[in-house]
């Protein structure tokens, strides 16, 4: 497992530790080799290799399996969390705390004793058609309402962004894809530092808001094509239609995803180059 893959899992481990109220003084991480662990200093993370708690040992602490293999033959006084990798709890082994399986594979022998056991099923559940339609209707309603409010109260803003989308599509797409890709990677790396995790979350929310703003502008533009006189109403209906279009595109493999990406990149770029619609974009004036 490479550092790039292991770091997000370590971030999750730290978040789980924080959430559980445990403040470990020491956390050991194992990446490779075979280890027999008779004691645990507060927390042990298995990221690779094999860790065994032998039958004769009684260890106290939190055990996290994020890669590699862990085997418990003896007693563990604490909780075990499996995020990835493999855990085997042998016959006669005992875990006094909770065994949580979030990912990876866990095998508990019939003769083993576990305080409590929970399994988080992260397999996405297929929504029923009614649920899908309901969620889509909710999105249409929310985005449509926002577009209506925007068009009624600040009609110049979507008009300016819309002008960049329609007249400077390529520039908007370039700026949007570049800013989007760079920001996304930057935010992920900021999250890795843990210290900047809140900034990263704020950044993601800001980015998401800009994309939603772009959706509203698409709604505004679509609304202009509709035979509805009231600007706010046409923008609301247009935004609703746009949400449906995005949903339909999402169901078309590859081409649909590419079209979605293109629309989002253009919208994001248009929002950025017009300073959220506050200034009309004018390309550089080149003589000749």
């Amino acid at each position: 497992m490479s550092p790039t893959e292991i770091v997000p899992l370590l971030v999750v481990v730290l978040l789980l530790l924080t959430a559980s109220g445990v403040e470990p003084d020491r956390m050991d991480v194992v990446f490779d080799g075979d280890h027999e662990q008779t004691t645990i200093d507060d927390a042990l993370v298995v990221g690779g290799g094999t860790v065994t708690i032998p039958a004769s040992a009684t260890a106290s602490g939190e055990l996290f399996v994020v890669g590699g293999r862990a085997r418990i033959d003896g007693h563990l006084d604490g909780n075990v969390t499996v995020l990835a990798g493999n855990l085997t709890v042998a016959d006669g082994a005992r875990i006094t705390g909770e065994l949580r399986t979030i990912g990876g594979s866990t095998s508990v022998a019939p003769g083993a004793t576990v305080g409590s056991r929970t399994t988080l099923d992260v397999t996405p559940r297929r929504s029923s058609p009614a649920e899908t339609a309901g969620f889509l209707a909710l999105q249409v309603l929310v985005v449509g309402s926002l577009a209506g409010v925007l068009a009624r109260r600040w009609p110049d803003l979507p008009a300016t962004v819309g002008d960049a989308i329609t007249h400077h599509t390529v520039v908007s797409g370039v700026v949007g894809s570049l800013a989007g890709a760079a920001s996304l990677v930057l935010l992920v790396y900021m999250a890795f530092t843990i210290v900047l995790l809140p900034v990263s979350i704020v950044g993601l929310v800001a980015g998401f808001s800009l994309v939603v703003y772009g959706y509203l502008v698409y709604g505004f533009l679509l609304g202009r094509l509709l035979p509805i006189e009231r600007t706010d109403l046409s923008a609301a209906v247009g935004a609703g239609l746009f949400v449906v279009v995005i949903e339909v595109l999402g169901r078309i493999p590859i081409a649909g995803a590419l079209a979605q990406f293109g629309l989002v990149a253009v919208a994001l770029g248009a929002v950025l180059i017009t300073y959220l619609g506050l200034q009309r974009f004018e390309p550089a004036d080149i003589p000749g």
Binding site: M1, S2, P3, T4, I6, V7, V29, V30, F31, D32, G33, G47, G48, G49, H168, V170, V171, V174, V175, S177, L178, A182, V185, L186, Y189, F192, P283, A284, I286, P287, G288
Partner: protein, 431 residues
């Protein structure tokens, strides 16, 4: 785009001229980044048997001599009127490509240090003569509004070819590929400069007057740009910084097998193709940004991307240092962002000098601009890289230094632009 209109209206001389310019510059740049820069390392270390440090010193000497030659050539071109004379430029280019053809063919036979030195001097003279002449062709062949897109096309084609073609970085391979590939170039240039074929002469006559219709460069409208103005030296300084950062970092990256074998020299064609595609896409993006925004915006993007790229590299190294037990497959993301950045500044470099020049100044401006920003920066960064190596500076510290430099230039440029705006507002300029 003027060239699109030209295709639609069947103005074939204009279209052919732009195509010729793209072909010449693409071939020239490909030759430079593969044969001269990468092949030279292999030639010096493997065939001549020198240490990599000694070869780096020779590379520095090549850069310095190329720069000096270019300045002499560029100034001479402007003073003698060669910059405005397309036929003279064709003749000079024919000479350059012929010399380079010979140098390319004989390179694999070099085995001694004196022969290597002579080869370096030959390369420097050819390059020093070649790049002011070839860059100056932009004023003859590329309409001002299209320079960003044409620069993007050259960058995209060059880097796509350099990365997608699965060539070993070996002088024998480069020589075997480039020697026959240069023959058509020599022939075309010989025909163009011969003055003996009537139809070709008609075409050259048409091309020779195009620069008068195209007019001066895009950035010359706010006032004269000369070697005595800040308008010329500020982009020179910025591009010098860009090349310096790139060269200082890349010299260390290519000496680190784990980094180079997982990217530019990866045995996996998919990885190399991904880098090639990102180079091409990055060049296209840079072309669009160059045409639609002020050049300072592009400089800001370049420094930001360099800073960002080195943050990625150094983060990976820090994580690997923190968790030494973890198997560390270097991330493909890092070379992809690196490639994007390199395409950005290469595009800018191809478009900027003609746009800062007139037909009377292009020789000097291209020579000083490309020479200082490209060759002198390479020379100095090589010296710095060598001194860091002698001081046993580790990879992380080295890349961290490059990262700091990129971020410093980013902040300095942003603050400089903002301060200039404040100064203008304070003087009552509301535009």
């Amino acid at each position: 785009m003027r060239l699109v209109t030209a295709i639609r209206e069947r103005e074939w001389p204009l279209v052919l001229g732009a195509a010729l310019f793209v072909s010449l510059l693409t071939a020239g740049y490909y030759y430079n980044i593969t044969f001269v820069q990468l092949g030279l390392i292999d030639l010096g270390t493997r065939l001549v048997g020198m240490s990599s440090s000694t070869v780096s010193l020779w590379m520095g000497a090549l850069a310095l001599l190329t720069f000096l030659t270019a300045v002499v050539v560029g100034v001479t071109m402007d003073r003698r009127g060669w910059s405005r004379d397309l036929r003279t430029k064709f003749r000079l280019l024919t000479l350059v490509v012929t010399v380079q053809f010979v140098l390319t063919a004989v390179a694999p036979a070099i085995r001694t240090v004196p022969a290597f030195g002579a080869w370096i001097v030959g390369c420097s003279l050819a390059l020093g003569l070649g790049f002011p002449v070839s860059f100056s062709l932009a004023i003859d062949f590329v309409p001002v509004p299209d320079r960003g897109y044409v620069a993007a096309a050259i960058t995209a084609l060059t880097y796509f070819g350099a990365n997608a073609l699965p060539l070993a970085w070996s002088i024998d391979v480069f020589s075997a590929l480039l020697t026959p590939a240069m023959v058509p170039g020599v022939l075309v240039l010989a025909v163009l400069s011969s003055g003996r074929i009537e139809r070709v002469e008609t075409l050259v006559d048409e091309w020779a007057t195009q620069h008068e219709r195209f007019g001066r460069g895009r950035f010359c409208d706010d006032g004269p740009v000369t070697v005595r103005t800040l308008a010329f030296w500020s982009p020179v300084a910025l591009l010098f910084g860009v090349f310096f950062i790139d060269s200082l970092g890349f010299l260390r990256i290519i000496e680190t097998p784990a980094l180079v074998l997982s990217s530019w020299q990866s045995p996996d064609f998919g990885t190399r193709l991904a880098i090639a595609v990102v180079h091409a896409v990055g060049a296209g993006m840079a072309g669009v940004l160059y045409v639609n925004f002020d050049r300072n915006g592009l400089f800001l993007w370049i420094f930001a991307l360099f800073g960002f790229t080195y943050v990625l590299y150094t983060s990976d190294l820090r994580v690997a240092a923190f968790f030494p037990g973890a198997a560390s497959d270097p991330s493909i993301l890092n070379p992809l962002f690196y490639s994007l950045t390199v395409s950005f500044y290469t595009t800018l470099n191809f478009a900027l000098w003609p746009d800062l020049s007139t037909a009377e100044t292009i020789g000097t401006h291209a020579a000083i601009g490309v020479g200082m920003a490209g060759w002198l920066a390479t020379f100095l960064s090589t010296a710095v890289a060598l001194s860091l190596e002698h001081a046993d500076v580790g990879l992380l510290t080295h890349l961290n230094l490059v990262n700091a430099l990129a971020l410093l230039l980013l902040v300095a440029l942003a603050v400089g632009l903002y301060s200039r705006r404040v100064y203008a507002l304070a003087r009552g300029d509301t535009a």
